[in-house]
């Protein structure tokens, strides 16, 4: 496996009046292609900040993020937006669907910005919604769906452009345990099937164990890296 993302000496500081908050403190990390990485940490430990900088949504104060050797920290906005359209997908805790649009329109939106024609984008969006079991909810607006359904729509939107990397920030934070399990299984399945790299933020140790690797963070620093995959393999061997 080759390195997909390389993070070197990443530091992010926020200034709040006189106070300076160090959200990320000199973080080094390598993420490999096709892996399911979980970032675990308490509230305020800098998980979301790390995610945002990796996705080019926020600028680092210091350090570098290399995506297949290309520096994101220096990339121009326009190129970065194109990058997100083509290679990245996002899933949020509160789904972040556009309330005025139907499920289908929401899923198709990234393709709209990518200039895909109407027929092709609706075909692709339908396909993926059906795969996620939402064939009866295509024309529903977000307010007409349950939380679980909304999150599936948002997963569909994240996957519609066949991304290389999907970022998920506490995707099950608003869901009950049963739905959480469903969603997690779904994500895991997608990673295994499509080879997409999934980077998921959570503060729940149990959920973190779905990941191939779990990174623990505290006060903007990585404190521990646990590799489950080896364990998996061991288990398989044991069988």
């Amino acid at each position: 496996m080759s390195a997909l993302i390389e993070i070197k000496g990443l530091t992010k500081k926020y200034r709040l009046g006189q106070e300076i908050i160090i959200a990320l403190d000199n973080v080094d990390l390598t993420i490999e292609e096709g892996e399911f990485l979980c970032i675990l940490g308490t509230s305020g430990s800098g998980k979301s900040t790390l995610l945002h900088i990796m996705a080019g949504l926020e600028r680092a104060t210091k350090g570098e993020v290399l995506l297949r050797g290309v520096s994101l920290t220096k990339m121009k906005e326009k190129k970065m937006a194109g990058f997100r359209r083509k290679y990245l997908g996002f899933i949020f805790q509160s789904y972040n669907l556009i309330p005025s649009m139907t499920a289908l329109e929401n899923v198709a939106l990234p393709l709209v910005f990518d200039g895909v024609n109407k027929k092709a984008r609706f075909k692709r969006s339908c396909e993926i919604l059906v795969q996620l079991g939402l064939q009866h909810r295509l024309k529903n607006k977000p307010t007409e769906m349950s939380g679980g359904q909304q999150q599936r729509v948002s997963i569909a939107r994240a996957l519609v452009n066949n991304p290389k990397i999907v970022f998920a920030d506490e995707p099950t934070g608003n869901l009950d345990s049963k739905t959480t399990e469903e969603i997690m299984k779904l994500l895991k399945e997608k990673v295994n099937k499509t080879g997409v790299t999934l980077i998921m933020v959570t503060h729940d140790l149990e959920l973190a164990n779905y990941g191939d690797r779990v990174i623990s963070m505290r006060d903007g620093k990585i404190t521990k890296i646990v590799n489950n995959k080896e364990g998996c393999r061991d288990e398989k061997k044991a069988e």
Partner: protein
């Protein structure tokens, strides 16, 4: 991002807040309507004035009259200058003048076959008649060497009546005949006929002057359609006869029209001329033709500066144009203010919309919308408000314009034939196009700041703090 998708998205966004969008559009609609209607009033006013001027007289003609010149405030400018051959020569020398003719006018009773009537006869230099903007509808104009021939206006025939018509008139039945309902007469009937003017000098002495009608002038409603023109030498003889030994100007006889004509003619000037011996040969007036419409005002001013009293249609037009321009500026200004307020309305609506859609804008950025996409989306929404307002405003303008024209129709076009009907409000296609374009531009300009704000919104702030 595809242009069509962008417009669809913009439309969809506008339609989400129907009431607010409609109210904002309403502002633009009112602004556009007031600007278009107000401009259309100015345009219509000027156009109808130009039209009526054109039909009443040429814009290259100046008429130099006896009496003093006055400045704009009505103060006399020096001594009254005499209209004699010296004056003709002086005027001819002015740059821009291409033809000058002195003129005498006489009025009196005339006979045309068995018909009788009154006639105002003007003597001009036959040689330059064709240069003085006269045009013959039938027959020909006067030319050099003509004697005892006459060219008549197209309406002159209506002034001659036979016995039965005269009796009817005496009973008052034909007094105020409506030109549209009167019996049609063909002016060509007069062609090649003998017309005699009966001039009078004192109660007994009468003399007949015979003319041959050689031409009918063009135009039914201009300054010369009720007049007749003959070589100046013939008219001078007639005038001299009526003046011989008498201070009273001989205005022949019994025809009622003759009296009316004499009243409307240059009686004051004529009397003045006859009161003093050495001015007896002064012309009644002098006709001047300039080369170009633009020169007329200048020439007219030069003539006035030289101390002559003159009048031209171009002078009157200038004043009218000035007032029309002022009216347009004032009206347009009111419309502009309304549109400015409408533009502020658009900006306000778009800013409100950004507050409501902060999160949504953030999401769009996260899933790959560029700054340009967001910027264009908001501009498109603002421009669309402008366009829709402009479009409906234009529609409303046409309606209002129709209503205004309808209301003023009777007042403006009384007795006008249909093809010469004038509109007080006129919307030319360029104005329609301009209005539409203008409202879109207003929308776009009003949207610039909100679009800029939308672009600068941090996607992180939008998706954080959920």
């Amino acid at each position: 991002m595809n242009k069509l998708d962008l417009l669809k998205l913009a439309r969809q966004n506008l339609w989400r807040r129907k009431l607010r969008t409609i109210l904002t559009v309403l502002g633009v609609l009112i602004g556009t309507t007031s600007i278009v209607v107000m401009l259309s009033l100015g345009i219509g006013l000027r156009e109808s004035q130009r039209k009526s001027m054109e039909s009443w007289g040429s814009l290259t003609m100046i008429r130099v009259q006896q009496g003093m010149a006055f400045d704009n405030e009505g103060n006399p400018l020096g001594e009254a200058k005499r209209l004699n051959d010296e004056a003709v020569a002086e005027i001819k020398a002015i740059e821009g003048v291409i033809a000058v003719s002195p003129a005498y006018d006489v009025g009196g009773e005339a006979r045309l076959g068995r018909k009788r009537g009154g006639l105002q006869l003007i003597g001009i230099d036959p040689e330059v008649m064709d240069q003085l903007e006269f045009k013959a509808e039938q027959g020909r104009l006067l030319k050099k060497g003509d004697r005892n021939v006459i060219v008549v206006g197209s309406q002159v025939i209506y002034q001659f009546h036979d016995e039965s018509e005269r009796r009817k008139m005496e009973r008052g039945m034909m007094m105020y005949e409506d030109p549209r309902s009167r019996q049609q007469k063909d002016p060509a009937e007069m062609l090649d006929q003998r017309l005699s003017m009966i001039m009078q000098n004192g109660p007994e002495k009468k003399k007949n002057y015979n003319f041959m009608v050689v031409g009918i002038l063009e135009g039914e409603r201009n300054e010369h359609s009720y007049q007749a023109y003959a070589p100046i030498d013939d008219i001078k003889k007639m005038r001299d006869f009526t003046r011989g030994g008498s201070t009273q100007r001989g205005i022949g006889g019994s025809g009622r029209e003759a009296v009316l004509l004499a009243r409307s003619g240059k009686t004051v000037a004529a009397k003045k001329g006859s009161s003093s011996r050495d001015t007896a040969n002064d012309y009644s007036f002098i006709l001047v033709r300039t080369g170009k419409v633009e020169q007329t005002r200048e020439v007219s001013k030069t003539i006035k500066d030289k101390g002559y009293n003159c009048w031209s249609m171009a002078d009157s037009l200038e004043g009218i144009e000035k007032t029309s321009r002022t009216v347009q500026a004032v009206l347009g200004g009111i419309g502009a203010i309304t549109l400015l307020v409408a533009a502020l309305g658009i900006t306000n609506t778009m800013i409100m919309s950004i507050y409501e859609r902060t999160k949504e804008i953030g999401i769009m950025k996260v899933i790959g919308a560029t700054f340009t996409d967001i910027h264009t989306l908001f501009l498109a929404e603002a421009g669309m408000i402008g366009f829709i307002g402009g479009l409906f405003g234009l529609g409303l303008s046409y309606g209002v314009s129709k209503i205004i024209n309808h209301l003023f129709q009777n007042y403006l076009n009384r007795g006008m034939p249909a093809e010469e009907m004038m509109s007080i409000s006129l919307i030319p296609s360029w104005l329609a196009l301009f209005a539409l374009l203008f409202s879109v531009v207003i929308g776009l300009v009003a949207g610039l700041y909100p679009a800029h704000r939308a672009v600068r919104l941090s996607p992180i702030r939008a998706i954080r703090n959920e």
